[in-house]
Symmetry: C2
Subunit: 504 residues, 2 copies
């Protein structure tokens, strides 16, 4: 059926995944059609069973196929929706898949991609207050699962210092000139190269805008969307983006997400012109936006002349499987790709970027090119050297291992406890955050407050909800970027003790 | 009359200036009252004539007294307006001084404080296009009087590099944590100390907000002014601030300036809630806002519950006389002090700051504290060390000498030419820009364009005007931050040749 000899330097599982995906998108496998069993396909292709399992797993995660219990694997029913994605265009839109509009964590095991995002809605005194506004005393927390602070060994001080010294002694003429408002050319080229290597995005360096953070870039997008244009954000989601909209006087719709990602149906009939999503690892639910939803969203955006801002913040920390492809790789005319170095390098390094579609870039040049650059040229030059010298990708690979081990060690704590634990991790294979399902009797806010008084900082899913709070009750977010397995070992008994007290 | 023995460590001229100023503000010298002649006062106080001349000069520059030809020195007629400034408050507002509403460069010799600001309205390709949008070929310009680029010897590379190495090897815990959105505490304290020493401002470090540029900070002020609030900017003025308003959907009034600064009368009856001014050295005219105007503006702001954003960008480069005091030193409840390190250190270092009045700071905490910090913690730590180690003030003093010499050398070129020159510098004792008055027959835009084609970049006052262009015709701005006296020597004959061709 497929010729695995043609895979080039790709792993076999990835080659199989791509072949099947193309067959589904291309209509050679129809929506609802049953696929070969894993065993049959493995025999037919002469590959190991695990190889086929990995390929199918990736197709499931990205929403091309689904597993039906005691029956087998099927191409998703909405496969005809991919017509848009392949460029043929369709006008008859079938009804949206309304599965799982209750809780994305209840109905379907497959949906359990808990978020491990390192972002959070920070209050001003970032290190002094928990997300719920509880002020802690100044003693160091027993365990802090909220902070984005890095451990000393997580930043490449030596290389950074070496490159900074080089930049300052080179006395590059760019050091003493006003920086290009979009970012130094050398950095924009370095970013474009990295995007091509790591995310398959063929970005034009002239369409890249560098800024001191995602919020700053969002502000630019709001201006480019035009005065009074409606913006949409995910609910639950990264609250800051909604706040940026509101504070700058823009109206903002909060659109529910479920296990397949944003509910595109909720956008119909609105005048939304910009929708912010995190499709490869939704924050905070961890959902991967399904292939069908992606096609629906692109279809909607095309019809409405709207833009999709794709926040790809967590793509660097996927611990198994193939990285989820960014939408912007295939649809650069509709999708703004956004990412930041503040997550992958340090929260104190304020460099983020976005890739604008040509039309928006034109609008930017017309309307906003008078702005001065917002990131120091010294830092931009160092970062460019860091990427071009191969240090960045090596650093990411080191950090992926570093966090992967930490994640495994933490999950092992729960495994060792067996079924007796009051808290159950919702397994996810990406990001720096665990979602724990706690006992039903908890009052989440009170619980977090009491823990905070005992020196343990965690946040709950409800903190990120605009509506639908009920759906996300008793789900807690523990970031393991700053805290490690020993912190977990100390924290878990306290969390259980406090929980048990609440039972009475 | 005054006891110069009581002056402490102040220079005598400064002490005299302060005594007379206080007498005027305190009503002991009435508006319109004639002062002692310089000679009489010098005899009476037993000081040199030059000392009194310096004191009177400063009082004239700041608008407390005026010189009437062949008659002597008089306290300004509107001196009763200082009632507000002394806190007594008045309700009967005398008619505004309408002198010099034509051109601020024609009627009064005293008004000739030409701007030497280093800022300009930059187009996107900052170093490739002139302000009028003319694209130059890629050959280096013969002489560039528009660029903000620094010469190699104008940045303290060695010290900066040393301090950066220190910060990176200290591994300060702040390096790896999300920075406070307002800026690191250590930097805010350093800035507060500097403001006290250099500008007499007693700033609360908790009211300081650090950002990557004045435009970013202005955006914050617009949000804090409330949705739909009207904002005012100077005309002519620093165009970017008006553009920031418009692009973010805020309405903006352009208020004329004359030799005394902003025409406060034009604010009456408007619903302006925020007015942006550069009182100590107006950009681009170089006017110093007179004492009377300051009092009027504060009076207006008090009545209207409006705020004054005081851009103090050029205060570091005043080459003679006492620095002009910032309004915010005396009225921190009404005035936002703003300044930037991108002018005094390098245009590539994106660190600016503002000091908010308590009320606005409260509003900021309520509305905008969710924003992430916008300046790298590494850079903030280095800058804090740079200020606290005394390097900043030494650097400023060095740069003041550096530019002062350059300015003198350039003025000497004109002096040597005598009255034959087609271009006359309008003398100013501050900033990094000369204003040249050119021949009346020029078409400014064409002239600049032709010069640009010949490799000489200059801008004209008209580029900074919103209305009133006629008033500012044939005035050209030459920044000498990037170009030196040799560049001037090369440029001037070309400028004259091109001018003469236009005559025919």
């Amino acid at each position: 059926m497929y010729d695995v000899e043609k895979r080039g330097d790709k792993p076999i599982y990835e080659y199989l995944y791509m072949c099947i995906r193309d067959d589904i998108v291309g209509g050679r496998i129809k929506g609802g059609e049953k696929l070969l069993s894993k065993r049959r396909l493995a025999q037919q292709e002469g590959v190991a069973l695990i190889t086929v399992e990995n390929a199918y797993e990736q197709l499931i995660v990205e929403g091309y196929i689904e597993s039906r219990e005691r029956s087998g694997y099927y191409a998703v029913m909405d496969a005809e929706r991919f017509a848009y994605a392949t460029g043929s265009g369709i006008d008859n839109r079938p009804a949206i898949d309304k599965r799982n509009t209750n809780s994305i964590y209840k109905k379907d095991k497959m949906a359990f991609h808990g978020s491990t995002n390192t972002r959070r809605y920070t209050s001003r005194k970032d290190n002094k207050e928990s997300v719920t506004g509880v002020t802690n005393n100044k003693e160091p927390a027993l365990a802090d699962f909220v902070s984005q602070r890095l451990h000393d060994d997580a930043f490449p001080f030596d290389i950074w210092s070496k490159l900074m010294r080089k930049v300052l002694s080179d006395r590059n003429p760019e050091c003493l000139a006003p920086p290009d408002p979009c970012g130094l050319e050398v950095l924009r080229y370095a970013i474009a190269g990295y995007l091509m290597r790591s995310r398959g995005i063929d970005a034009n360096p002239d369409n890249i805008i560098v800024g001191p953070g995602t919020e700053y870039l969002e502000n630019i997008l709001l201006v480019l969307s035009g005065g009074g244009a409606l913006t949409a954000v995910e609910d639950p989601g990264y609250k800051k983006i909604g706040l940026v909209c509101e504070r700058s006087g823009h109206k903002c719709l909060h659109i529910p997400v479920n296990k397949d990602g944003l509910d595109v149906f909720a956008l119909e009939g609105t005048s939304v012109r910009l929708v912010n999503i995190s499709p490869s690892h939704q924050f905070p639910t961890g959902a991967v936006m399904s292939a069908v939803r992606r096609a629906q969203l692109l279809d909607w955006a095309g019809r409405e002349d709207a833009y999709i801002a794709e926040d790809d913040y967590d793509s660097e920390f996927r611990f198994s499987g193939r990285p989820i492809p960014p939408i912007s790789a295939s649809y650069p005319d509709r999708v703004i790709y956004m990412n930041t170095f503040t997550r992958t390098l340090a929260p104190s390094i304020r460099i983020a970027f976005m890739v604008l579609p040509d039309k928006l870039m034109e609008r930017y040049r017309e309307k906003l090119s008078f702005y001065s650059g917002t990131v120091s040229s010294f830092d931009q030059l160092v970062l460019a050297e860091f990427i071009n010298g191969g240090y960045y990708e090596r650093h990411l690979s080191r950090m992926r291992n570093y966090y992967s081990k930490r994640r495994e060690n933490i999950l092992k704590i729960f495994e060792d406890k067996g079924d007796n634990s009051l808290f159950t991790p919702i397994k996810d294979n990406a990001g720096l955050r665990l979602i724990l399902k706690g006992p039903d009797w908890l009052d989440d806010e009170k619980f977090i407050k009491e823990l905070s008084e005992k020196g343990i900082k965690i946040s709950c899913m409800n903190d990120y909800c605009y509506s639908y709070k009920k759906m996300y009750e008793h789900l807690f977010l523990l970031s393991f970027g700053a805290a490690n397995e020993d912190d977990f070992k100390k924290a878990l008994p306290v969390m259980e003790e406090v929980s048990i007290n609440y039972r009475n």
